[in-house]
């Protein structure tokens, strides 16, 4: 459906000049439909460049990208269409709201897809429902609302296109813990209901650890790790060495191991940590 295949992707800035720099290279990935992927990497590691290739905002310097079996860079038309299939929510999306009313802003995407009025209306309501934007707000100006509400409206604006793949760049940036949890819950619910692939770029390791089925780690333009949360976070020292955070439970597990406690690798949630410590107590090992 919207399976993504990336082949030998390379993107170079200022090609042919002495300032030439490869933002990303040698990227080979397959992301099956419906997967929830976390993408992590230090600032400048290429993750932003990478995600902008998936909806053809950027074109590869070399390599190919397929979505649902089709080469997305084949033609101007395919580049345009893939933006309806792969939705991208940028950081601080609330800064892009522009319409007079909330309804119209959410409708912007579907309108650009040249859908019928009824279809647009249906999608707007559906999308608003997914992120918890109530109907009472539809006729209000988005600029009057709170930051959290604005963000949800912006996300709804992308979901309204019914993309098979939803990419979110730091969707919880600047939100308080409650706001973070709500947005992530909404995203997970959306995925469950629609079967969409979700790609989450984040610096928040605890968020990623909690919900991602698969984690891809970028460093200096390349993919350096690709696996489940357990696999990736068992290489905590490596992650720290490339300038990344680790989930808080992982950091505490590392400190405990340093003090001599025997703990299994790949701890990344509080529950796992608690269970492991209690086992040590039970077994009398330390």
């Amino acid at each position: 459906m919207s399976e993504i295949i990336v082949e030998k992707l390379r993107h170079v800035y200022s090609a042919g000049t002495p300032f030439e720099v490869a933002a990303i290279e040698d990227i080979d990935l397959t992301i099956p439909q419906g997967q929830l992927v976390g993408v992590i990497g230090h600032t400048g590691s290429g993750k932003s460049t990478f995600i902008q290739h998936l909806n053809a905002l950027l074109s590869p310097s070399s390599g190919k990208i397929y979505c649902g079996g089709q080469d997305i860079n084949e033609s101007k038309l395919s580049r345009r269409d893939v933006k309806h299939q792969v939705g991208l929510v940028f950081q601080y999306p609330e800064y892009q709201l522009f319409e007079e009313t909330v309804y119209k802003d959410i409708a912007f995407g579907p309108k650009n897809m040249k859908l019928s009025q009824e279809e647009i209306d249906q999608r707007v309501r559906e999308a608003a429902g997914f992120v918890g934007v109530e109907e009472e707000l539809f006729e209000k100006s988005p600029l009057e609302l709170s930051g959290g509400q604005k963000r949800r409206i912006a996300i709804a604006g992308v979901i309204a296109m019914r993309p098979g793949v939803l990419i979110l760049d730091e969707p919880t940036a600047g939100l308080d813990p409650l706001g973070c949890r709500q947005i992530l819950d909404n995203i997970c619910a959306y995925r469950e209901k629609t079967g969409a692939t979700v790609i989450l770029v984040s610096h928040n390791m605890d968020d990623v650890a909690r919900i991602a089925q698969r984690i891809i780690v970028f460093s200096h333009g390349r993919v350096v790790m690709d696996g489940s949360a357990g696999e990736v976070f068992s290489r905590a020292e490596e992650l720290i060495a490339i300038g990344l955070d680790v989930p808080r439970a992982t950091a505490l597990a590392m400190a405990l191991k340093k003090q001599g406690m025997a703990l299994p690798d790949g701890i990344y949630t509080h529950e796992q940590l608690l269970a492991a410590v209690l086992e040590n107590r039970g077994a009398g090992t330390c």
Binding site: L57, G87, L88, V89, Y95, F98, F108, L143
Partner: protein
């Protein structure tokens, strides 16, 4: 993409032209422009062209760079030349022709004048950073404060505008990408359609600009900003020997050109 636009075309360097006080350079440009409009004969134009060539050499600015800067003005330059060739009275170059010798001479001189004018100004912006320019301008205009002219306010507005140009360009880029991701199309369609398509970019940009201005104002007041009164400056512009010499040369040039005018050269 949009980040590639450089404003003012400042090329950092360490030539004597770079080291001159910006006020001296600003005054020199004024003197040069006045001299340019006083020039009448070939000798005068010749000297002015030579002066510009020497300045280019001294500032390590190549002809290629100047030419790049002149490109946008090609139309006006060509138009000037054409108008002067066809509409000057005098002796026709060939009997019955409209084009006169005087016409050709005038066309060359007028084209030269525009080119020298633009080149002279470019030399200023190539060798002086925008901040130095605004600093220099503020100090030169200071005496106008006595006439209640808001010199300080204007200067701080200019320098803050310069500070935010790259930031605003980056923001525009981001907003455009975000709207493109929602299917916005900025490339196809008639002029009207494309203008309308810019609304999703301009509105957020404006909103953000106002919010930015608000936050900046609070930040500035928190740092005890209260207008221009009582403000001191960390960086002082001080005239050095070379600035006086340069100005003297500039005044000599102007005097010389006026003298040549009187002599009909």
């Amino acid at each position: 993409m949009l980040k590639d636009i450089t404003l003012g075309q400042f090329f950092p360097g360490d030539t004597i032209a770079h080291r001159l006080d910006p006020r001296a350079k600003l005054l020199l440009v004024v003197l040069f422009i006045v001299a340019l409009f006083q020039a009448r004969g070939w000798v005068a134009y010749g000297i002015l062209t030579l002066v510009v060539a020497v300045c280019m050499r001294v500032s390590h600015i190549s002809g290629k760079n100047i030419f790049k800067g002149l490109k946008p003005m090609i139309f006006i330059i060509a138009l000037t030349g054409v108008l002067n060739i066809f509409y000057t009275d005098g002796t026709p170059i060939l009997p019955g022709w409209i084009i006169t010798w005087e016409g050709i001479a005038r066309a060359i001189q007028m084209v030269l004048r525009i080119v020298l004018l633009i080149t002279g100004t470019f030399l200023l912006t190539y060798t002086t950073s925008p901040i130095a320019l605004t600093d220099g301008l503020e100090l030169l205009l200071n005496p106008l404060k006595k006439l209640r002219f808001p010199v300080h306010e204007m200067t701080i507005m200019m320098s803050m505008a310069l500070r935010f140009i790259p930031t605003l360009i980056e923001e525009t880029d981001k907003i455009m990408s975000a709207q493109k991701a929602r299917g916005a199309d900025f490339e196809t369609g008639s002029l009207m359609e494309r203008a309308k398509a810019l609304l999703p970019v301009l509105v957020p940009l404006f909103v953000s600009a106002f919010r930015r201005a608000d936050e900046l104002a609070v930040a500035m007041e928190s740092r005890c900003y209260h207008g221009g009164e009582g403000r001191t400056r960390m960086k002082q512009l001080i005239f050095a020997g070379r600035d006086y010499i340069a100005l003297a040369l500039g005044i000599l040039l102007l005097a010389g050109i006026i003298g040549l005018k009187k002599l009909g050269l």
